[in-house]
């Protein structure tokens, strides 16, 4: 786990631009600005609110340990997302998010839907989440990151280490595979 943040830091440090060094960012300001996005990124992977919040806290702790190098990072948001993304993937190996898909979907919908519609909608959403789980890894990751409106294609490409055209291709194939899989589920 310790290597995850280090890899991310090295990867982003290699891409830094040789410009005047900016002032060291304020860490509380970073928390206020990016914590919500980071939480959603972690939640899309682990599908557990408590785990997602814990991941965000761990990510900011890593940032705190390397705050001297933070000034050299140009794309701070993409760098933070990458740290959270790697931490979430690592945490995901210890939990089974598909077991709580229905409850998770119900929790997501409860704030926006009436209670009688939540049950049926949460079942459909659980099917979609299960289909997403069966996608190839890269397609799944590109699809989940694309769900975050704040992230551009370039930032998703930076997080996943792909080109922008590669990300577009992955998203297209992911949607095609999802349609096929959901269609098969309806026929059964």
């Amino acid at each position: 786990m310790a290597a995850i943040g280090e890899q991310s830091l090295q990867w982003f440090a290699a891409e830094r631009v040789a410009v005047d060094k900016p002032a060291e960012p304020d860490l509380p300001a970073l928390v206020g600005e990016h914590s919500a996005l980071l939480y959603r990124v972690a939640l899309s992977v682990v599908r557990n609110p408590a785990e997602a919040e814990d991941i965000v806290q761990d990510a900011f702790l890593r940032v705190l340990q390397r705050r001297q190098e933070l000034a050299a990072i140009v794309e701070v948001r993409a760098w933070l997302v990458r740290i959270v993304w790697n931490l979430a993937l690592d945490r995901r190996r210890r939990i089974r998010p598909e077991q709580m898909d229905e409850a998770f979907a119900a929790a997501l919908l409860s704030s926006t839907m009436p209670a009688d519609e939540v049950l049926s909608e949460s079942r459909r959403m659980a099917q979609v989440l299960a289909a997403i789980e069966h996608l190839p890894t890269k397609e799944r990751q590109a699809l989940l990151l694309s769900a975050m409106d704040e992230l551009s294609t370039a930032e998703i490409a930076a997080v996943l280490g792909k080109s922008e055209s590669g990300i577009r291709s992955l998203l297209f194939r992911a949607r095609v595979h999802l349609r096929e899989r959901l269609g098969k589920g309806d026929r059964r």
Partner: protein, 233 residues
């Protein structure tokens, strides 16, 4: 059907996108960060105490480094003088110099400090060619302690031809010959020799009287003893 699946997928992704963070998450993160904030290290304290201007910090650092380098060079030059030539010679080929001092001296212009193989006498060249390891050791920093050692007397200077003849004479001459070397004895001997000469060749009073009588009788006549007269003159 496909449209329905697309709508369901869009709704699911929108639900993920719009998931609200738990209340108070930022506060909890801030508290955890505050609990883990390390105290500033000494280096950070030092950095913060330095002037903010980059050029001033650079100048200050350069001045400190230059002072340190100058101090180091000053002490190095004062504490490590270059080894003297005779010390180098003693360290490089001490056995050769001790074994054949006369050979070294007889070579004349070849100084013991000369390090080139062509300039070395036979003994030194033998010592240097016998083991290159000794040369390497001699050129190694082992010489530095030798340079701190107390000074030794210089090796004896070469003897001149007169001095060598004197040494040979002292070894082979008799005591009487040796005694004759004394200036006082030599003066005394010269005086005795002169006295004996004068005594032998000087005219006697009778002869002088006879000469005077003959001169009175024969003023232009020859001397009856021309040899004595000439010798007397």
């Amino acid at each position: 059907m496909t449209q329905e699946h697309d709508d369901t997928l869009s709704r699911t992704l929108a639900a993920l996108r719009n998931a609200p963070p738990p209340e108070g998450m930022e506060t909890r993160i801030a508290q955890r960060l505050a609990a883990h904030t390390p105290s500033p290290s000494r280096w950070e304290v030092l950095r913060s105490s330095l002037p903010a201007a980059a050029w001033l910090r650079g100048a200050l650092t350069g001045a400190i480094v230059a002072t340190a380098v100058c101090t180091l060079v000053f002490y190095m030059t004062r504490r490590l003088p270059s080894p003297r030539p005779h010390q180098v010679a003693t360290a490089t080929a001490p056995q050769a110099v001790r074994a054949t001092p006369v050979t070294l001296q007889s070579e004349g212009s070849a100084s013991p400090a000369c390090s080139g193989p062509a300039a070395h006498p036979a003994g030194v060249s033998h010592a240097s060619s016998s083991s290159s390891r000794e040369e390497r050791e001699a050129q190694s920093p082992r010489l530095i302690p030798a340079s701190f050692a107390p000074s030794r007397p210089a090796p004896p200077a070469p003897l001149t031809a007169q001095e060598r003849a004197l040494v040979e004479f002292v070894r082979t001459a008799t005591p009487a010959q040796l005694a004759a070397l004394s200036p006082a004895a030599e003066q005394k001997s010269d005086a005795e020799r002169e006295a004996a000469f004068q005594k032998f060749f000087a005219p006697s009073p009778e002869l002088l009287a006879l000469e005077k009588g003959e001169e009175a009788t024969n003023p232009s006549g020859d001397s009856p003893m021309p040899q004595a007269k000439e010798l007397h003159n």
